[in-house]
């Protein structure tokens, strides 16, 4: 059974559907990449899956149909979404961000344990626990956004362009973290990225979107060898 199963998704803004007939699956503990050029509909896809955008088609989480649930309820059901850009609550402190992340968790002891765990993983966040999230650097904010999302103990984590605006070394650190989250905690990860090269290094499979639908799918290995992918996304002249 897939952790996330999307079937026949269609969504858009106003009368025009930006995404049409899109289907994808993410296995348990699997990292899947959603690639595509600007305007292909990647962000729209994630927003529809998380319920922030009205859509048709169905979304199943661990076999349970969540199509009729609001975005907030989908978060409660185990679907975490880190939106593009600053995914943090900028006017709130680091600690408040993490506690907001655990809003759907009712077990207080678990919240404190998770807080300690993420502070352990990111000592920099612990040092800045009383600072406003908006005052952190871009890399620290992205780390906070991931920790915040993980505080909800999700089954599926969706990241929209996590590397946007980050230095290459920080991006590498971030991708290692995402890989560890999937491997060690069994969380399924769906990443939307421009940086196809690095994404295909950690992803098991990928979908390539064009004009609002999936044009191509395959394992990361096979896509890396694909001449069209190399030309379009990997900067390789074939």
């Amino acid at each position: 059974m897939s952790a996330l199963e999307v079937t026949g998704l269609a969504a858009g803004y106003g009368a025009i559907d930006v995404v049409r007939g899109l289907s994808l699956t993410v296995g348990s503990g699997e990292i899947v990449a959603l690639l595509g050029a600007n305007g292909a509909g990647k962000t729209t896809t994630l927003r529809a899956i998380s319920g922030a955008l009205k859509h048709t088609g169905s979304v199943k989480l661990d076999g349970t149909d969540v199509t009729r649930l609001s975005a907030a309820k989908r978060t409660g059901a185990g679907l975490a979404h880190i939106p593009q850009g600053r995914g943090t609550f900028v006017d709130f402190t680091v600690e408040e961000n993490l506690r907001l992340g655990a809003y759907t968790v009712s077990d207080r002891r678990q919240i404190e344990e998770d807080l300690a765990r993420w502070y352990g993983a990111f000592p920099r966040l612990k040092e800045r626990r009383d600072q406003l999230a908006g005052s952190l650097s871009g890399g620290e904010q992205q780390m906070l956004a991931i920790a915040r999302a993980m505080m909800s103990a999700p089954k599926v984590l969706m990241c929209d362009e996590p590397s946007l605006g980050l230095a290459p070394s920080i991006t590498a650190e971030l991708f290692t973290l995402l890989r560890d989250i999937a491997r060690q905690q069994g969380v399924s990860v769906l990443i939307v990225e421009q940086n196809a090269h690095l994404t295909l290094e950690i992803a098991a499979r990928a979908y390539v979107m064009e004009h609002g639908t999936v044009e191509l799918e395959g394992t990361a290995e096979s896509l890396k060898q694909d001449a069209a992918i190399q030309r379009a996304y990997l900067g390789v002249d074939a």
Partner: protein, 293 residues
């Protein structure tokens, strides 16, 4: 000098009432970017309900408690039925809805209870203490204590509780809040309910001296709008400081400058506000350059 102290005490008591209503306005503005002109009229309606319960023979404090609960439901219902459908509409639309609510609630009070002023009992005893020549009434002290207690409870709830954090998040980041599992509309509904309770408390404190009538809160809402502008529309603390400052400026100003007289006393706080806003357009405690998308 005693006279000035006397006016400061009177001003603080009046200012507490402005502050409570300003707090209601700021809570709603922070959450929904709406200036609810009808807040005072909604509050008047609540006080009429309370007064009706007193006529039916309920004890004062029980009637106040029941009315506070009804006010919460009323505020929540007003948001759900009239504001939520136009929340994403241009500001002009929302202003018109609020004016509609203003006229509507005033008309309902007029229709049910008529235009004659009615008595509303004081919430505190009529004892008066004299401290160094300044007369301090238990009623004024009660008003100040009530406001302080409410402000402290509100601050603690916002700062330390899960629902307080969620309400602040829903107000500050409407788009991101669902991603942590917060139902934004539920929080906004809750915020409108809490604001209506604060409005009711302001009106219940004002009613004994203003006398209960459908237009009772019209002057108070003007001072409360001034207080919120002075303090900054994003700041609950600003609403309280602004309310007290407007109250004191009004009484002390009228006393010190004899030529102002009763007719012009409304102008004093606005002169003060004009000066403050000239220096700090965002208000005393407001934040500058805050464009929300």
């Amino acid at each position: 000098m005693t006279l000035v102290w006397q006016q400061i005490v009177e001003g603080l008591a009046a200012g507490s009432i402005y502050a409570a209503l300003a707090l209601a306005l700021v809570l709603i503005h922070r959450a929904t970017r709406v200036v609810n002109f009808a807040q005072g009229e909604m509050a008047t309606f609540s006080v009429y309900l309370c007064s009706q319960m007193l006529i039916w023979g309920l004890p004062l404090y029980l009637a106040l408690l029941i009315t506070a609960v009804i006010s919460f439901i009323l505020g929540a219902a007003v948001f759900r039925l009239t504001i939520r459908p136009v929340l994403d509409a241009p500001p002009e639309t929302i202003v018109v809805v609020c004016i509609g609510l203003f006229i509507g609630f005033q008309a309902i009070c007029l229709w049910i209870w008529g235009s004659d002023s009615a008595q509303f009992p004081r919430l505190f005893s009529s004892t008066i203490w004299t401290v160094g020549g300044v007369r301090i009434s238990a009623n004024n002290v009660g008003i100040l204590v009530t406001l302080s207690a409410l402000a402290i409870v509100l601050a603690l709830v916002f700062r330390f509780t899960r629902i307080g954090l969620a309400m602040r998040a829903a107000a500050a980041e409407r788009a991101k809040s669902p991603y942590v599992g917060i139902e934004v509309e539920t929080m906004l509904t809750f915020g409108w309910g809490v604001a209506a309770v604060f409005g009711f408390i302001a009106a219940a404190l004002a009613a004994p001296s203003l006398f209960l009538s459908p237009t009772m809160m019209m002057s108070v809402i003007i001072y409360a709008l001034a207080a919120a502008t002075l303090g900054g529309w994003d700041s609950p603390l600003g609403a309280i400081v602004g309310g007290l400052a407007v109250g004191v400026a009004e009484t002390v100003g009228t006393t010190l400058i004899k030529s102002i007289g009763a007719e012009l006393r409304l102008a004093i706080p606005f002169l003060l506000i004009g000066l403050v806003l000239f220096v700090r357009p965002q208000g005393l405690f407001g934040r500058a350059d805050k464009a929300r998308v």
